[in-house]
């Protein structure tokens, strides 16, 4: 069983959903982001998403754009991101790692080589924002051969007719983009989510995580109980950005504050009422 499947199964047995925090690789530098990654599981991360910085993150809001810029300024490369994961795996062989980013750096690295190197580094899944199922044939065979899950985004705009097509290309879990918009801007209501998730359940048995607009412990608890997990990204990156000095460098505040926020989120997710569905 893959790490992703094993983790969701274990959480289901505990009757709760997953907290999936996001960090941008190299933000604000390689060492700090690796240290954050290493400490996330103890702070309560059930799965971890690592953003691969890209120059043109057209689906992201200002907060993730700024994080990607800081990462690139610190010298981010895909090879360096994979090194982070290799390092992390020396101490943690259970927490699933999902890389999230845009297609071009991966195409530039080479699809086959990337899937091979990512798998051997210990990556479990890939979310490539601008690779819809229609174009996925460039990556899918290599991902499959290396047992990497391709996590599919589903949006409020994805019609009932289109859902089975999109989900037939999904593995690992399904990432529900809860708003029509860019990351870190607005939030879906509980009512929206309670209507949306059963629509997906009818078509897939995969776990479902909710992302885009999940900011507070309450929202995370809510999303992870309506679905099977909650992704928190911009809220954590905002906190990280607040702790940087005026030259954009990490301070003594950086790790403790971001980790404390993850602890608060985890506490809320763990004490949320049992699964709503």
């Amino acid at each position: 069983m893959s790490r992703i499947a094993a983790r969701f199964k274990a959480l289901a047995a505990q009757g709760r959903g997953a907290l999936i925090p996001y960090l941008e690789a190299y933000d604000p530098d390689w060492d700090t982001s690796l240290e954050l990654l290493r400490k996330m599981p103890a702070a309560g991360a059930d799965l971890i998403e690592i953003g691969m910085p890209f120059s043109d993150p057209s689906a992201d809001g200002p907060v993730i754009q700024a994080a990607a810029r800081r990462g690139l300024k610190a010298g981010a490369t895909l090879a360096g991101v994979l090194d982070m994961v290799t390092d992390f795996r020396q101490q943690d062989n259970e927490t699933p790692i999902i890389l999230m980013g845009y297609l071009n750096p991966v195409e530039s690295y080479g699809y086959e080589r990337f899937c091979r190197d990512a798998a051997s580094a210990g990556v479990d899944g890939l979310i490539l924002v601008d690779l819809p199922p229609e174009e996925a044939d460039v990556l899918a065979p290599f991902a499959k051969a290396n047992k990497l899950d391709i996590i599919r985004l589903v949006a409020p705009t994805t019609s009932d007719e289109r859902l089975p097509y999109v989900l037939s290309h999904a593995s690992g879990f399904v990432y529900y983009v809860s708003i029509t918009g860019i990351t870190g801007t607005r939030s879906a209501t509980t009512h929206d989510l309670e209507a949306a998730i059963p629509r997906l359940r009818k078509v897939t048995k995969l776990p479902i995580a909710i992302g885009f607009g999940v900011r507070t412990p309450q929202q995370a608890a809510n999303a992870s109980s309506i679905a099977d997990g909650a992704v928190v990204a911009s809220a954590l990156l905002s906190t990280l950005a607040e702790t940087l000095d005026d030259k954009g460098r990490a301070t003594a505040e950086t790790l403790p504050r971001v980790l404390a926020q993850i602890e608060d989120l985890a506490k809320a997710v763990r004490s949320a009422d049992g699964k709503a569905v």
Partner: protein
């Protein structure tokens, strides 16, 4: 789009170069495509359907023809540039006068088509990206004509260097949003326009101004712009009784070039030359020549030649001309380059500045800095060609918007 049937993707003549892209929007199986986030994907598919229906509808064609003639002012003349020809002493040079269109460039051809489509789709708010501001002005103009809400994203750098167009857009009632991310040029404006669209899907139509972006934009914009080539073909036959030998056009994203090239793709005797902005020089590191100095990659919804570093991060383009300052190019150009059907060359900032003045003094026509790149290359090769060579330059826009930039480079204070 003279004959909708002959532009369909279901080709009858399989040996024709005019039946790309395929159903997935791929040109030559490699370039183009639909690389967008899932939130946008259903919208792109809806647009594809709506465009197919409109293209097959004679009423749509009729409506578009009416506006092209009485509002845009088509057809645009094909002007024999006699003094320029005599001065250069070689090929016979003709200028396709797209700068005479309403709003001063070829951009209105596409905007007219897409806004009629947006109206058919019931959209009431238009968002667009703009570099030099020509596409933004064209969009703001047609939005004013139809009473549509209009939001234009423009890089902060471009807002600064194209002030007259910014003022024009605001006069026309558009909201101009300066984009400060990246280098504040066309690439960043495109990102921001896509972000707006994804957040406002219910009422908003995204009006891409060039032959790039996710399918169906590259094919659709080409279809709307191909009126340029269709007219050129007929006008040259009327003037000289035959096809031109060489067609030269400037390329940023490549819409004016694709518009004039497309009707000639199957006429093998016609040399097609796309002129990229070399900026400070092709090997200076400050260039916008995506085909000559880039490699294929994925940005803004399509696979095409891109200026990028070894890690696949997109690089900033550089050109004196804001309209060519883009690190990518339309996917159909990438394909035409790969198969060798069109040639792609570079012209530097300084060569374009010289051509700007040359065209102005020889013909009494002030070209846009974008179009001056095409004039510069034509002036370079004309003396090497025989006197019976017929060479057409697509004069895609007028240069009034550029006088401040040119004055600054010439050391003149206005």
């Amino acid at each position: 789009m003279a004959d909708p049937k002959e532009h369909g993707t279901s080709a009858v003549h399989s040996n024709s170069l005019r039946h790309q892209p395929d159903e997935r929007g791929h040109f030559g199986g490699r370039h183009g495509g639909r690389f967008v986030a899932e939130t946008l994907m259903p919208l792109i598919l809806e647009l594809d359907e709506a465009y197919k229906v409109a293209k097959a509808d004679p009423a749509f064609r009729k409506e578009l023809d009416y506006y092209l003639k009485d509002y845009v002012g088509r057809p645009s003349p094909l002007w024999f540039a006699q003094r320029m020809t005599e001065e250069l002493g070689g090929a016979k040079i003709f200028l396709k006068r797209e700068e005479l269109n309403h709003t001063g460039s070829h951009k209105l051809n596409n905007v007219m088509g897409q806004i009629l489509l947006a109206r058919r789709m019931g959209r009431t708010r238009i968002v667009a990206e703009t570099g030099a501001g020509q596409h933004g002005v064209a969009t703001a103009t047609v939005c004013a004509l139809f009473g549509l809400k209009c939001v234009i994203y423009m890089g902060a750098t471009d807002v600064e260097r194209q002030k007259p167009n910014v003022f024009r857009m605001r006069l026309l009632g558009a909201e101009v949003v300066p984009v400060t991310s990246g280098a504040g040029t066309l690439k960043d404006a495109m990102n921001e326009a896509m972000r707006d669209w994804v957040a406002n899907i219910a009422d908003t139509y995204m009006l891409i101004g060039t032959v790039a972006g996710p399918h169906p934009y590259p094919a659709m914009v080409r279809d709307f712009q191909s009126v340029i080539g269709t007219e050129t073909k007929a006008q040259m036959k009327a003037a000289e009784g035959r096809l031109p030998d060489v067609v030269v056009a400037a390329i940023g994203g490549g819409s004016n070039a694709m518009g004039i090239f497309y009707p000639f793709l199957d006429d093998k005797s016609v040399r097609l030359i796309g002129v990229e902005a070399a900026g400070h020089g092709l090997d200076s590191g400050k260039t916008a020549a995506s085909i000559e100095r880039g490699r294929p990659g994925v940005l803004h919804g399509n696979r095409t030649y891109l200026l990028q570093n070894a890690d696949g991060q997109i690089e900033e383009a550089h050109s004196i001309s804001a309209g060519l300052d883009y690190p990518g190019v339309g996917p159909e150009h990438s394909w035409l380059h790969d198969i060798g059907r069109a040639e792609y060359v570079g012209i530097t900032d300084n060569e374009a500045l010289d051509a700007f003045q040359f065209c102005t003094r020889m013909e009494g026509i002030i070209p846009a800095l974008e179009s001056a790149h095409a004039v510069a290359y034509a002036a370079k090769i004309a003396p090497t060609l025989s006197k019976d060579t017929l060479l057409v330059v697509n004069l895609s826009g007028r240069g009034d918007k550029d006088i401040f930039t040119v004055a600054e480079h010439l050391g003149v204070k206005l």
